[in-house]
Amino acid sequence: MIRLDRVTVRYGSGAHGIAAARDISFTIAAGEVFGLVGESGSGKSTVLRAVAGLLPHAEGIVELAGEAMPRRRTRAQRRLLQMVFQDPYGSLHPSQTVDQALAAPLRIHGLREGERRIAESLREVGLGPEHRFRFPHQLSGGQRQRVAIARALIVAPRILLLDEPTSALDVSVQAEILNLLMRLRREHGLTMLMVSHDLAVIAHLCERVGVMQHGALVEQTTVDALAAGTVTHAHTRELLESSARFERDR
C-alpha cells in the first residue's frame, strides 16, 4: 500500500540543502500498521511529511496503492491518504466549529449526504451531537484529537498517517485515543504509518517498526523482536534501554 524507494528529502536547495532524510526505503502492506521511531531530529517526521505530500522529496519514489506520487497530487490522490497531527490545539481551525471542520472535506470531494456522514463520523469517534457546533477552544485536548480523527476519516481514506497522535495528551487520554485508533483500523481496514518517540505507544499499535537515526533508517524489525530484545542495530538497543530505564524509574 505504501512503498518508499530510496527517498531523500532536503531542506533548502542546491549545495546548501540539508538532507533531513536520506535513502529511505520501506514497504507497508495493506492493513498493516508500521511505526517509525527515533529521537527528535532523526528525520522520522520528515519521512511522514514526504509520504503525506506536504514536503517534496528530492530523490526516490513514493508509491501509494501502486501509484508513484507526482510532485503535485490530484484530488483523488489526496483522498487516498489523511493525517492526524501531533498538536490537537494547532490542527483545528480556531474559528471554525466542529461542523465546519467536517463539512469542508465533504465539499472539496463533492461527497453527498453530508448531514448523515457528519453525524456518523462524530458517533464513530465517540463524540455526540452536543459537540457538533462547538469551537475547538470549547473542547478538551482528547476531544479535539477525536475531531481531528473524524475529519481525517470522513473522506474514507485507505491510509492514515499519525504524527505522534498522543504525545500532547494526558496519559489517561492517550490510552483512549490509541484504543479508538485500533478499533477504527479494524473497522475500516486502514493502513497506518505512525511516527512516535515512545516505544510503548509504538508497541501498543504497530506490528513492524523502523528505527531512524540522523536521517537514515538504520533497522527494520518487528514489535515481537523488540519485546524479545533480539534487535541488531546498536541505536535500537539504546532506545530500548532508555525506554526500559524510563519505565523502571516511573
Binding site: G90, S91, P94, S95, T97, A104, P105, E130
Partner: protein
C-alpha cells in the same frame, strides 16, 4: 415563541441545526458586546450618526443648509437657528446635520476601498512569500514612506478637488498599514497544522487563503479600520479645511471649521459646532472599535 423560550433557543448548548448554531453565536457575541458600557456608547453614537444622515431632511430643512441670507450672517444661537449662522447667513444646525451624510459617505467609501486592497496585497504576500512578497511589500513601503496628509494632499491636488477624489486620496494613503497587518497575520498562520490538514484534504490555494486564513485576518483588519475611522474623518476634514475636499457650498465639517477660522474669537460657534461633530464622531468610532476588539479577544482566548 415566548421571550424565555426564544432565549433558551438562542443559548441552546446543543443546537439542532446549523442556522440555530450560527444565530446563537451571534446572540452570544451581541450579549458580550452589550455588557461593555463604553462599547455600547460608541455603537449608539455611530447608530445615531447613521440615523441622522438618513433622516436629515426630516430633522432640518434641506434648503437651509445652503440658503444664503447676508442679513442674518454670524447670528448667535436662537430659536430660528439653534446653532447660529455662518459668515454667509446659512443655518449651522442644518449644515451640521447634512454634513453627517458627507462624512459617513467618505468613511464608508474609504473602508470599502482600504480593506479589500489591504487584504488583496497582504494575504498573497504573506502566504506565497519569496518574490511575490518582495514586490508587494516594496510597493507598500513606497506608499508608507510618505507622510499621510501630504500624500493625500498631492493626490487631491492632482486629481482635482471634490469628495470622490478626496476619498481616493485618503484610501491610497491608508491601505499600506492594512497590507502589512494582513501579511503578518497570514505569515503566523500559513504553516499552521490546520492549513496542512486542508492541503491534505485537497483544498486549493485560493480556498485555503479565503476559507482558512482570511477569516482569521479579517477581525483584526476590521477592528483596525474602526479605530482608524477617527483618523480618516480628521484627514477628510483636513482636506476640506485646505479646500481640497468637498467643494462649497457642500456642508462638509472640515470646510465648515475652516470657514469659521477668521471669526473664531468673536463668533466661536461657526468653527466650534462642526468641530464638536467631528470630535463626537471620532470618539464614537474609537469606542466602537475598542468594544469589537474586546469581543473578538474574548472569543479567541
Amino acid at each position: 415563541m415566548s421571550g424565555a423560550g426564544l432565549r433558551a433557543w438562542l443559548l441552546d448548548p446543543v443546537p439542532a441545526s446549523r442556522r440555530q448554531a450560527r444565530i446563537g453565536r451571534w446572540y452570544r457575541a451581541a450579549l458580550a458586546f452589550g455588557g461593555n458600557g463604553l462599547a455600547m456608547a460608541g455603537l449608539l453614537i455611530v447608530l445615531a450618526l447613521v440615523l441622522i444622515a438618513i433622516a436629515a431632511p426630516l430633522i432640518a430643512d434641506p434648503q437651509a443648509a445652503t440658503l444664503q441670507s447676508l442679513t442674518d450672517r454670524l447670528q448667535p444661537a436662537s430659536w430660528a437657528h439653534p446653532f447660529g449662522t455662518d459668515e454667509l447667513g446659512r443655518d449651522i444646525f442644518a449644515r451640521t446635520v447634512f454634513g453627517a451624510r458627507i462624512t459617513l459617505t467618505i468613511v464608508a467609501l474609504v473602508g470599502l476601498i482600504v480593506v479589500p486592497v489591504g487584504l488583496g496585497i497582504g494575504l498573497p504576500a504573506g502566504y506565497f512569500g519569496g518574490a511575490v512578497d518582495a514586490v508587494l511589500m516594496r510597493l507598500t513601503d513606497i506608499f508608507l514612506a510618505f507622510p499621510r496628509l501630504v500624500l493625500a494632499l498631492a493626490f487631491a491636488a492632482a486629481l482635482g478637488p471634490g469628495i470622490v477624489n478626496a476619498v481616493v486620496a485618503i484610501a491610497l494613503t491608508t491601505w499600506p498599514p492594512y497590507a502589512r497587518l494582513a501579511r503578518a497575520e497570514t505569515m503566523t498562520r500559513r504553516d499552521a497544522e490546520f492549513v496542512q490538514a486542508a492541503v491534505l484534504q485537497g483544498a486549493s490555494r485560493a480556498s485555503i487563503l479565503f476559507r482558512q486564513i482570511l477569516p482569521l485576518c479579517l477581525p483584526s483588519v476590521v477592528i483596525r479600520l474602526t479605530l482608524d475611522m477617527a483618523g480618516i474623518i480628521i484627514t477628510a476634514a483636513g482636506l476640506g479645511f485646505l479646500g481640497l475636499g468637498a467643494q462649497p457650498p457642500a456642508p462638509e465639517w472640515g470646510a465648515m471649521v475652516a470657514s469659521g477660522r477668521q471669526v473664531l474669537l468673536d463668533q466661536w460657534w461657526v468653527a466650534t459646532i462642526p468641530g464638536i461633530a467631528i470630535f463626537i464622531t471620532s470618539v464614537g468610532f474609537n469606542l466602537f472599535g475598542d468594544g469589537l476588539r474586546d469581543v473578538a479577544d474574548a472569543r479567541g482566548a
